[in-house]
Amino acid sequence: MEVLHYMGAGIGLGLAVIGAGLGIGKLATGMADGIARQPSAAAQITSAVNLPLFLLEGVAILAEVFCLLIVLLK
């Protein structure tokens, strides 16, 4: 049974990373597209992308911390 704990935490960690990777990738794509079309608005686009990026990172890190708790709280 102990193995299942580690497996669950590991799989959860991987899923969180997949989700965060997809999200960050989408944001980066949108930002690159936007800047390519409108290079003069680069600063504005960057600052608009920053905030959701950090919130996304926060969600991913929360997921990772909870995976850690699964291991620790068994």
């Binding site: 580690y6 950090f54 926060g58 969600v59 929360l62 291991v71 620790l72």
Partner: protein
Amino acid sequence: MLLATAAPPAAVTGPGASAFGLVATLDAAQLEEPAEAGEPAHEAAGEEGGEGFDAGEVIIEHVANSSLEHPLIHLPTIAGIDFSVTKHVLMLWVVAGLLFVILTSAVKGYLRQDRLVPSGFMNGLEALVEYIRDEVAEPNVGHKWAKVWTPMLLTLFVFILGSNAIGMIPVFEVLSLANHWVVHASPDSFFGMVLHGGSTTTSNFNVTAGLAVVTFFAIILAGSKAHGAVQHWKNLVPHGVSPFLAVALIPIEILGMFVRPFALTMRLAANMTGGHIAILAILSFVFIFTEMAGQAVGMGVGLAVSIPLAVGISGLELIVIMVQAYVFTLLTAVFIGMAIHAHH
């Protein structure tokens, strides 16, 4: 296995300071566990270094706070709170003292000049202050309140940047070398204990929780100052929704109030701990391979894999320490701005 043993990054600064009691109790639970469960696993797997070198232990020792039984300075317990100084508290003081001395001396020197044109370090400081004011405070908090909240944002930014950065400066490792070759201080003396310092205070959940508590009250204070104490709490629920929905929204909004500082806590602490664990795990390949296949292989792995990777991750960390300080400040500004510009 490594993650499982390297898990508790969270030693406690003191029972009273433990805003994150959950991890504190985990710490105690974890201490006895790997001692018995970890050993057979090592022998069975035979990969982790076995008897001589335990990567997990070394990494925890570096990342976690020093234990309350062996603090750096013993101080009395007042009102149930142990005031003893552990290494994270010591680093907290070092950072605060360094920042106070450097910043005040720079500003004083600048004010003593005849013509008020900044030079040298003051240039950078002025650029920093202007950046936080114009790029972080003004767009988020708004022009009217920017002057009120910029000092707090600057304090948060400079302190977090300082304590993040001090973990990247190997002062204590150099001191350790000096101790190894020259001084030979006993491990129980103050100097011997200080050698284990040099870790980032912001990798301790209690420190970041304390910083997030500042944000938590700043949000409430900002809303109350802008709208009045009653209206701020009314603003939590959007206007114009049906009363049933409004009642249903109340618990969600209260939850959101606490989740924001919690996310700030976790983001900063986990980022700072993660970087250190990654660097140390990569560097411990050297010792693991030395024990597995002899010194030549260990040194080969070190030169070919560990050192280049560790240099790369250290470079990444240099970016991360700045980005995380910026993120904490930016999100604090955004949350304060949300409380002030409650348009619903």
